[in-house]
Structures are given as structure tokens and as C-alpha cells.
């Protein structure tokens, strides 16, 4: 036991006992921004809610930060040394949290913009080969096990920033990267519209993700390891 060898110093064992031997205590680096239960930052909304998201999705995001597919310096630094086992343990912790959603400010948009947002979420834009968000993120937009995150209850700032990152290449996922393709087909005004409509929507009573295998992805997605028909 290497630890035992380190304890001979000036510190009393009583001090040690005061540090809880829990995962929650160990992951202060995560909870200081995302909240003790993964409820998300109450401020800007750029530190998203993690609570209740599928564990596979959360572990994959840590891996993507580690590999540099997702770029955000603090997350890249925190994830850089994590082992797959520890990533999964942390992901399971946040996936299991059930905490109420907090309402965050949504910009006031013209009704026509919100209509466009709703259209993109529920029926997509076939002319521009944009599938509806619901096709993968679930009928209630609460995500799909094991690796599609829910969109319900996400803040406007976070959704629009992520879609922008996908367009700019600072967020990516395993190839073929279907979300990068979709974000590339969205006009800047579409990003505002879809983010505002999603963020303004009432969170459903049951926020659990849909079961695995309940969706047929319209695009080929590396992250889903499934083959859709179109592209």
C-alpha cells in the first residue's frame, strides 16, 4: 500500500477521517461548475446539466475531451488523465442523479422564428437534408439510451454554443460525425431559432431517456454505430 507509506507525516488521522471517502467528494473538479448533483451552473448556463443524461453519452464526452475532439481547455485538462474505468464511474454518478430542472432566460424572438425552431425540432427541413431533432433525441427530447443526450431543459446559451462549436470544429464526435453534418446545414438564424424553442419548452414530467434501440437514425452516425439511410 503506497498510501500507508505516506502517512507518517505531521498530520493526524483525525483530519483524514473528515474527508468523506465518496465519489462526490473526489469529483470536486466536476461539481464545482456542474453542481453537486449535476444540475448545471446557475449562472451563465455554459456549464450544462449532467444529471440524468445517459451514462454512455457522458463517458463518451469525457473521452472526446481527452482525445481533443471536443475543445474546452478546463475540460480537456480535467479529462486528460482519466482512465476509462474512472470516466464510467463518474458518468454513472451523474446519470443516476434526479434533480429538478431550473428555468433559464430565453431571448424574446419573433413568433416566426419560434415557428422555425419548432419545425426544425419536430419535422426538420427535408429540402436542406436536416432531420428533426426528435428523430434521435427522442419524442420527448429526453434523449435515447445509451449515448444520445436529452435536449429538454438545456439552457439557450449552451445549446446555441454547442451548435456553433460543431460548425466551427471545436466539438466533434466519432466519424461519421452526423451532428457536425447537421450543424453545418443549419443557417446561423436556424441555430438561434432551434435553441430558443428548445430552451423555452416545458420540461416533460418524465425526463428519463428513451430505451436503447427505439430510434432509427436518419444519418450514419459513428457515435450510434448504426447505419441510417440518408446522408
Amino acid at each position: 500500500m503506497p498510501f500507508a507509506l505516506l502517512l507518517g507525516g505531521a498530520l493526524a488521522h483525525a483530519d483524514q477521517a473528515s474527508v468523506p471517502d465518496t465519489l462526490q467528494q473526489r469529483i470536486a473538479a466536476c461539481t464545482s461548475c456542474h453542481g453537486l448533483h449535476g444540475e448545471g451552473s446557475s449562472g451563465s448556463g455554459f456549464s450544462p446539466r449532467l444529471a440524468g443524461k445517459p451514462a454512455g453519452y457522458l463517458a463518451l464526452q469525457l473521452q472526446n475531451f481527452q482525445r481533443g475532439l471536443r475543445q474546452y481547455a478546463p475540460m480537456e485538462y480535467i479529462a486528460r488523465s482519466l482512465t476509462p474505468d474512472y470516466m464510467h464511474e463518474i458518468a454513472e454518478y451523474f446519470a443516476a442523479q434526479q434533480v429538478p430542472y431550473e428555468r433559464r432566460p430565453v431571448p424574446a424572438l419573433a413568433p416566426s422564428m419560434l415557428q422555425r425552431g419548432e419545425q426544425l425540432v419536430t419535422s426538420g427541413d427535408p429540402a436542406r437534408q436536416i432531420p428533426p431533432c426528435q428523430a434521435c433525441h427522442g419524442k420527448q427530447l429526453t434523449g435515447t439510451e445509451p449515448s444520445v443526450p436529452g435536449l429538454a431543459g438545456l439552457p439557450y446559451d449552451y445549446i446555441s454554443a454547442q451548435l456553433g462549436s460543431w460548425r466551427a470544429g471545436t466539438r466533434a464526435s466519432a466519424a461519421p460525425d452526423c451532428m457536425a453534418q447537421i450543424a453545418g446545414r443549419l443557417a446561423p438564424a436556424d441555430i438561434t431559432a432551434v435553441s430558443a424553442w428548445l430552451a423555452g419548452r416545458q420540461v416533460p414530467a418524465d425526463t428519463h431517456p428513451q430505451p436503447a434501440g427505439s430510434i432509427t437514425p436518419p444519418l450514419r452516425c459513428g457515435v450510434l454505430q448504426a447505419h441510417g439511410d440518408g446522408a
Binding site: P2, F3, L5, L6, L7, G8, G9, A10, L11, D15, Q16, S18, V19, L23, Q25, R26, I27, A28, A29, C30, T31, S32, C33, S47, Q66, R67, G68, L69, A73, P74, E76, Y77, I78, R80, S81, L82, T83, D85, Y86, E89
Partner: protein, 428 residues
């Protein structure tokens, strides 16, 4: 300014001389048949296993792997003050890797810093240290690399600025900073000490970070393991002397072994690039090699005392502000007395990363937070919140200055503008 004027003239001479020198060199070496004795060793499973261990000691994979990419297939751009240099593919792919290389080619690279076509290699490849690796160890490493699955991945080109993009400038650089050689055992020291010195000075290439570099990126010969800024990465690799005025003053044999094995010791934890070195390399070292490294490091001499730095412009108001921030953000884990909690949270009093000369490490740790290195001996480490989003540059400067001057610490103050610079330093 005036004293810099000689640089262009000297560079011109170097470029011309280098060009002339290179024109005398054969441009392409013919592929050589492998010496039969060496060829047999390259296939020996025991030699390959030994090579795997040695490649881990040298942490070859950390530079020769693109983040998220195939191990040893190269592609990682190594930042230097002169531009970026890609680490090449060292898998046995014939076209893009070292599949066509003979051991002699490998030896010339490792020992002489010369490429397969007779070109001098950029010293981002630490042949200034690797030249001390002995021939049998080099054969084992080559055997291991040859046993890997070939990955076809073409090498990128360096993005060096003029005149550093001319290979010929290297000829002059080498004349000043590089001398091919072997490790010469010191008969007055134990076998273990000599093993430690061999690993630290050679394959471990510790001095490549833990020593100051001159204006031309060369290591000063007198600066063995006495600490230095890591160019472009924005970290400081501390002095490794455990004796008076050393960066690790007071560290015991057990502390050295613990930090290399688990990433943490009673005196502090490995942070920044050293956390990666522990996770990827030193945690796998055999016990006898860790003891040997400790033997050698414990023998590094005492350092000259530095002038006291306490008397500083408006440091007093900075310290008062830092004391408040410390109480709000840090004290719960690191303690009012800066002693930390053994095995959980590192002490800040006497911590090498806190009191190193520049303040870079403490500043970046406050900004970035993060986990201690994940090792077999510490698989579920505790972590520290990143404060980049929560504290202003002024608050970070204040709290870092406070911890650098509290308790028994006597390091220089850190200013707001220093924090602003490191807030946006890329992490890879």
C-alpha cells in the same frame, strides 16, 4: 537591443557553413542488410519485452502519438520557441514509419541525432540525452518498436520560422550543444546510483525539462536538473535537488519513489506535464529502478541560496486579498496551516510546485484544477475545482502570491498580468 544585432550575422554564417557542410553529405543512405547477430536479437521475445519496458521508461509514446491517435504512429506537433516539429511515425510501416530501417539507422538517430538520409535531426527529439543509452538497450527498444503493428500514417512537415527551417542551422547548434557520448559509470558510487544516473541522464531524459535553456534552445551544460521553464507549454519543471536550497529540499527517498510510482507524496503531487509522465511512464518502473533513481537524485548537490524576494512593490495588499480568497476557496482542503491532508490533498507549505521561481505552476493549477495523476496506486484520485471561471486574474494573482509567501514559503509575488497570460495558454 544593441547586443542582439550580432545574431543575424552569426546566423548567416551558420547557414552558409551549414549549407556547405550538408552539400558534402550523401543525400540518401542505401538500405542496409541487418547484421545477423542483431537480426536474431530483434526477434527474441525476451529482448522485445525488455524493449517494451525501456520504451516505457523513455515515455516514447507520449511524443510519438497524436492525441487520440494510434500509439507510436506520430503526428503530435511539439511546440518550440522556433516553431512546431512533428514527432514522426515510429511503427514498422515501411513507407511512413521505420519498417525499412536497420538497427544502424536507429542507432544513428538515437545516439548521433542523425536521420536516415544523413540529415541532422531537430533536438525536439531528445538525442542530447538519448546519446547516453547503451547499445544493448537501443537494440531492445528497436526490437520492441519493430514488433508493433505497422500503422500507415505519413509524417507532417515542421512549421519552423526562418532561419530555423533550414536544417543546416542545426549543424551549428549541434556543435555548441551536442556531443555524442555514452554513460560513463562513476566508480566511486554504488551500482544502484549508477543505474539511476544512467536512467535519469539518458533514456528518462529528465534534464530536457528540468534544466534551463539558453536563447537558442540548448541546455546549459552546468544546469543539470536545476529546474527550468518548459518552452511553449507554460509550466516550470522544478529543480530536483533535495538538499539545501534545492527545489525538493527535505524530500525523502520514500517521497521520490511515491511521487514517481503513484503521482503523490507527502510533499506534493505531480502536476502538468509531470502528471502525464507519471501516468504514462514512471508508475510502471520496477522497484529497483525507482530506488536507483532516488539514489541518484538524493545525491544532487545543495544549491546556492537565492536572494530573499519578500520585499516587493505592493505585495502586502495582494497578500491580504489573497488571504481572504484562500479562506473562501482553498482552506477547506489545504488547511489553514497549508499542510493539506495526507494522501488526499497536497500540502502547499513547502510544496515544490508552489514555491518554484516563476509562480507558473501554482497559477495554472489554480486556473485549471483537475485530478492527481491516475495510477495503479491511486486509481480514483481526489480533485481540485478549476477556478478560471470563478476567480478574476487579480484574485488568482492574490491567492497565488499568498500561498507563495505564507507559512515557511518565501517565493516571489505573482502579478495580475502574469495570470492573464497563463489563463489562455493552450493545455496541449
Amino acid at each position: 537591443m544593441k547586443r542582439l544585432l550580432w545574431i543575424p550575422a552569426v546566423l548567416l554564417v551558420i547557414v552558409l557553413a551549414g549549407g556547405w557542410w550538408l552539400s558534402r553529405q550523401p543525400r540518401q543512405l542505401p538500405a542496409q542488410a541487418e547484421d545477423p547477430v542483431i537480426a536474431a536479437k530483434l526477434k527474441d521475445p525476451e529482448v522485445i519485452a525488455q524493449g517494451r519496458y525501456l520504451a516505457t521508461v523513455g515515455d516514447c509514446v507520449s511524443c510519438h502519438t497524436l492525441r487520440g491517435g494510434q500509439s507510436f504512429a506520430g503526428g503530435r506537433m511539439l511546440p518550440t520557441p522556433f516553431g512546431s516539429i512533428p514527432a514522426p511515425n515510429i511503427t514498422p510501416d515501411a513507407e511512413t514509419g521505420i519498417g525499412d530501417w536497420s538497427f544502424q539507422d536507429f542507432w544513428r538517430a538515437l545516439h548521433d541525432g542523425m536521420g536516415r538520409n544523413g540529415e541532422p535531426l531537430y533536438p525536439a527529439f531528445s538525442y542530447t540525452s538519448f546519446t547516453k543509452v547503451d547499445r544493448d538497450d537501443a537494440i531492445a527498444i528497436f526490437a520492441y518498436l519493430r514488433s508493433l503493428r505497422p500503422t500507415h500514417q505519413p509524417n507532417a512537415a515542421p512549421t519552423l520560422r526562418f532561419p530555423y527551417n533550414l536544417r543546416s542551422t542545426l549543424t551549428a547548434w549541434r556543435a555548441v550543444y551536442f556531443k555524442a557520448g555514452t554513460y560513463r559509470p562513476d566508480a566511486s558510487q554504488s551500482a544502484s546510483w549508477n543505474r539511476g544516473a544512467y536512467l535519469v541522464q539518458g533514456l528518462g531524459h529528465c534534464n530536457e525539462c528540468h534544466a534551463a535553456r539558453g536563447a537558442w534552445g540548448g541546455l546549459e551544460a552546468s544546469a543539470t536538473l536545476s529546474g527550468g521553464r518548459i518552452p511553449e507549454q507554460g509550466w516550470y519543471a522544478p529543480d530536483l535537488s533535495t538538499q539545501a536550497n534545492g527545489g525538493l529540499t527535505g524530500w525523502s527517498r520514500q517521497d521520490i519513489i511515491a511521487v514517481l510510482k503513484t503521482g503523490q507524496a507527502s510533499k506534493g503531487v505531480a502536476v502538468g506535464p509531470m502528471a502525464d509522465v507519471v501516468a504514462g511512464s514512471t508508475q510502471y518502473l520496477r522497484e529497483d529502478d525507482l530506488q536507483a533513481i532516488a539514489d541518484y537524485l538524493l545525491s544532487l548537490p545543495a544549491r546556492a541560496a537565492q536572494a530573499p524576494t519578500r520585499a516587493n512593490f505592493n505585495a502586502q495588499s495582494l497578500i491580504s486579498r489573497g488571504n481572504v480568497v484562500y479562506g473562501e476557496r482553498c482552506e477547506k482542503c489545504h488547511g489553514k496551516n497549508g499542510a493539506g491532508i495526507a494522501g488526499v490533498y497536497p500540502p502547499l507549505d513547502g510544496n515544490a510546485s508552489v514555491v518554484e521561481p516563476t509562480g507558473i505552476n501554482a497559477t495554472r493549477v489554480v486556473l485549471l484544477g483537475g485530478f492527481s495523476p491516475l495510477t495503479a496506486g491511486n486509481a480514483r484520485p481526489y480533485s481540485m475545482p478549476p477556478y478560471a471561471q470563478q476567480l478574476s486574474d487579480g484574485d488568482v494573482a492574490a491567492v497565488v502570491t499568498y500561498i507563495r509567501q505564507a507559512w515557511s514559503n518565501h517565493a516571489a509575488a505573482v502579478q495580475e498580468r502574469d495570470v492573464a497570460a497563463y489563463r489562455h495558454t493552450p493545455i496541449d
